[in-house]
Symmetry: C2
Subunit: 446 residues, 2 copies
C-alpha cells in the first residue's frame, strides 16, 4: 500500500501568485460544499471573481476529481441530498470519486477506522471490539493498522483516493499532533503514533473529545448520513461503544439545521472529556490540554480521584462510578449495558444515572458561568444515556445558570452523531484540510 | 467642553487605498510602540516597506503629534524608559503630547477617572470614595461625569487631546458596549450609559473584570509606571478600593517582562469576576456574559446565593462572606480593612482569608482543568489580599491541577496593576483604538 499523504492542518498558504490561486481553489470548493449544487455563474457571483477566472478554477477542480459537473439532461447522485433536490443541467457538486479522509479511533474498548468522502458520507468502516486497557501500544497499533488498511483498500477499490489519516485517542495529545502524552485509561504515556503508524504515515492525532466537538461543528447541523457503501465491521461490536450513528438517540437530537459555533461539547467513553468551541474554533489551551471537565471538582471533599484531586466529576459520572453506584461489576460494554438496563426500567441503574446527571449539571454549570456558551452538546457515549441523564442535569443548570435573559438556564442538546463523533471527526479533519487547500490532495491517476 | 470623540473598537478598516494607508500608519505606530525608539530606517526594515513609504507615514504621524522625532543632539524624555536607554539622534518615539485615552470606573464603593497617554503613563487621575450600592444611576453618573470632566480638562491643559472614553462597570454589559444589563451590587438593570453620559459621549462600556484582564495583557508585563503628572485625587479615598498601583503588592508580582497571552484573570471588588484571555484575545461568550467565576459551584449544597444557585464561590470568597466569616460587620472599605487586620495578625481575619483562598483554589482548579491557561493572575482587590489568600489557593491548585508535566499544578501570579487594573484598562482601550487606527485620533489644533 502506498503511504497516505500527510494532511496540512491549518496550513498557511504562501502569499504568492500560486498561494492566491490555491486560496481561490479553496474558495470555489467551499462555496460548492456549503451552497451547492451551483452553476459556474452562481459560484462567480457568490465569491466576486469573474466567470472566466472561476471557470479556470472549476476546470482544475473537475480535472482533479474534486468537483463533478454532470452534462445537461444528466443528474448527479451527488446532488441528491436531503432538502437540496438535484437540478438537471450543468450544476457543480462535490465529487463522490475524489479524495477521502481516513479516520481511526483508539477507544478503551474498541478500535475503529473509516473513510469519509468530500460530501461527509462514510464510504467504508471497520470496527474491532475488545478491552484495550493496560495493553501495550504495539499490539493495539498493529490491530488499528489492519483496520486502517481495510478501509483504505475498500476506498481505493471504490475509486477513491485517501488524502490523509486522522486518529482519535482517549488522552492528552502533544502540540506536535502525533504524540499521546498521557492516556490514563489505556495506561499509555508518551506514545509517538507518528512513529508507530509506520505505513500509514504521518497521522494527525487529536483527543477524542476535541474531534467529537469538531465533528459536531462540521457535521452536527445536518442529519446523520446513512452509510450505504460501508464495509461490514471486521468483527461484531457486541456490547461495544460504537453503534450505527442513526440509532435511537437521533430522536432526542435538538439541533437545528445550523450547527452552533459557540458551544461546550461534553462527551464520555470511560473518562469524561469536554471541548470548548468559540466562534467556530476549538479552544486547545496553552499546552493543548484544555477540556478536562472530568477533573472539575464537584464536591471538593468527595472521593479520591487517581488524578490526585478529590470529588472530581469522573468520581460521580464516569462509567466506573455509575456502574458502582448501580451495584454492577466493572467490565466491558458499560454504556450499552447501562442503556439497556435503564431502558428496561432498572431502578438502581436509573438512580445511578440521575446521580451522574446531577454531577454533570453541577460541573457544566460552572463551565457555563465561566464561558457563556450558546449551548451545551452531549456527545459520545453520553448521547445514548441522555434520556436518563438529562432531567437531573437540566435541573442543576436551571438552578445555577438561570438569569433574567434566560430564565430556564443554559440549554442542552444531544449530538446526532452519538458515539461515532470522534471517528467521524478524525476522518473529517482530513476532508477539511482538502477543502482548505484542494491542491494538496493526491492527484488522480494519470 | 467639546464632546470626546468615539473610539472605534476593533474597527474593520476598509479594503481601499485609504484603508491600506491607515493600516500602514497603524503598523508604523505599533512598531515604534513595541520596539522604539527606532530610526526611520529601522522601522522600514522591520515592517518591510520602503524607506520612502515609511517616511511619508512617519511625517503624518509626527504632524499629528502621535510620534516625536527629536533632532540630533537632543534626547527625548519619551525614550527614557526603563531598560531602554534613550539614544541621541533621530530616533522615533511615541509622543507625550498627542492623544490620551480617558478611563472611568463605576465601583461599588468608589468612582474614578483618569487620562492615559500613548506611552501608558497616567497623566491625570481623580477618585471619589463612597458607597454606591442601591443608588440610582442618575446621581452616580452625575458625579462620574464631574470626575471625567476634571481629568479631561487637566489633560487638555497639559496639551493632550482626549481621544475617547472607556468606562468600567461592576456588572454585565450588553453586546452594544454601552448598556449595563445587570449590576447586582449596584442594583442597576438595563442602564444605558451611552445615553446618560451625555456630554462625554459615546463611551465604550465594559465589565471591570474584562478591562482588568485587558490591562494585564496590555500593561501587565511592564513595571507599573509612576504618575508624575497626575492630578491630586479629588477627595481622599479613605479605605476605598483605589490605591496607588505601585503599592506593596508589587513585591508579590511574579510576571516577567512579557505579559502572558493565555491566562485566567481573577479579580474582585464586592463580587468575584474572571476573564479568560486566549492567544491575546478576551473570550466574551455568546451573550457577552463570560467570566462569572463568582457563580461557579464550590460546594453544591452550600449556602443559598442571590443568583438562585447554592454554594457559589461568592458565598465563600466574596467580600461580604469573608467579613462574615471574620466576625466583622458589612460596610465600606472592606478590602482595605481586611488587609490592615490581616497585616496586624488578626487570627479570625487570617482564617477567613484562608477559607476564601481554598474556595478560590477549588473554583479556579475547575477553570484550569477546563481551559489549560498558561497562568492564573490575581487582580483587582484580590491582589492586595494575595499574601493571605495565596497559600490556601495554591494548595488546592497543587492537589487538583498537578500532572506529570507540571507537578506543582497551575501557577498563580499577582497583578502589578492591583485595584487600578479596570480603570487603566478602560483608558487603555482608547489608546489601543488609536494604535489600531491612528487616523481616527482627533487632529492637533490648526
Amino acid at each position: 500500500m502506498p503511504p497516505i499523504p500527510p494532511i496540512r492542518q491549518g496550513s498557511e498558504l504562501p502569499h504568492t501568485q500560486q498561494g492566491i490561486r490555491r486560496r481561490n481553489l479553496s474558495l470555489v470548493l467551499r462555496t460548492v460544499a456549503a451552497q451547492g449544487p451551483l452553476s459556474r455563474a452562481a459560484v462567480a457571483s457568490r465569491i466576486g471573481l469573474t466567470r472566466a477566472a472561476v471557470s479556470t478554477l472549476v476546470d482544475e477542480l473537475v480535472r482533479t476529481d474534486l468537483l463533478v459537473e454532470p452534462g445537461p439532461g444528466q443528474r448527479s447522485t451527488a446532488v441528491d441530498r436531503p432538502g437540496r433536490p438535484g437540478r438537471p443541467g450543468s450544476a457543480l457538486a462535490l465529487s463522490e470519486r475524489g479524495p477521502v479522509g481516513i479516520g481511526a479511533e483508539v477507544g478503551v474498548d474498541h478500535l475503529a477506522a473509516c473513510a469519509v468522502d468530500l460530501n461527509g458520507t462514510v464510504r467504508a468502516k471497520a470496527v474491532l471490539a475488545g478491552d484495550n486497557r493496560g495493553r501495550p501500544p504495539e499490539p493495539v497499533i498493529k490491530e488499528l493498522t489492519r483496520l486502517i488498511r481495510e478501509v483504505t483498500e475498500a476506498a481505493r477499490t471504490a475509486g477513491l483516493r485517501p488524502a490523509g489519516l486522522g486518529v482519535a485517542v482517549p488522552g492528552l495529545v502533544g502540540r506536535d499532533a502525533r504524540t499521546v502524552v498521557r492516556a490514563p485509561n489505556l495506561g499509555w504515556t508518551q506514545v509517538d503514533l507518528g512513529q508507530h503508524l509506520g505505513d500509514a504515515l504521518p497521522p494527525y492525532v487529536d483527543n477524542e473529545a476535541n474531534l467529537g466537538a469538531l465533528a459536531e461543528l462540521w457535521l452536527g447541523g445536518s442529519p446523520t448520513r446513512p452509510t450505504p457503501d460501508s464495509e461490514p465491521a471486521s468483527e461484531s461490536a457486541a456490547g461495544g461503544a460504537i453503534d450505527a450513528a442513526a440509532d435511537g438517540t437521533t430522536d432526542a437530537a435538538a439541533g437545528g439545521d445550523l450547527a452552533p459555533r459557540d458551544f461546550l461539547h461534553v462527551s464520555a467513553e470511560i473518562g469524561i472529556g469536554a471541548a470548548v468551541v468559540v466562534d467556530g474554533r476549538l479552544l486547545r489551551g496553552a499546552r493543548g490540554f484544555a477540556g478536562e471537565l472530568g477533573h472539575v471538582p464537584v464536591r471538593p471533599e468527595g472521593p479520591d480521584c487517581p488524578c490526585g484531586g478529590r470529588g472530581c466529576l469522573e468520581q460521580y459520572a464516569g462509567a466506573e462510578a455509575v456502574l458502582r453506584a448501580a451495584g454492577l461489576p466493572p467490565g466491558e460494554g458499560r454504556v450499552g449495558q447501562l442503556a439497556a438496563l435503564a431502558d428496561g426500567g432498572d431502578p438502581r441503574v436509573r438512580r445511578a444515572l440521575r446521580g451522574a446527571g446531577s454531577a454533570l449539571g453541577i460541573a457544566v454549570s460552572g463551565a457555563v458561568n465561566l464561558l457563556d456558551p450558546q449551548t451545551v452538546v452531549l456527545g459520545g457515549a453520553l448521547s445514548r444515556l441522555a434520556p436518563w441523564l438529562l432531567p437531573a442535569m437540566e435541573r442543576e443548570l436551571r438552578r445555577r445558570t438561570a438569569d433574567p435573559e434566560r430564565p430556564s438556564g443554559a440549554s442542552v442538546s444531544v449530538s446526532r452523531l452519538g458515539s461515532d463523533g470522534p471517528l467521524l471527526g478524525a476522518a473529517h479533519a482530513v476532508v477539511q484540510a482538502v477543502l482548505d487547500d484542494p491542491a494538496s490532495a493526491p492527484p488522480p491517476p494519470a
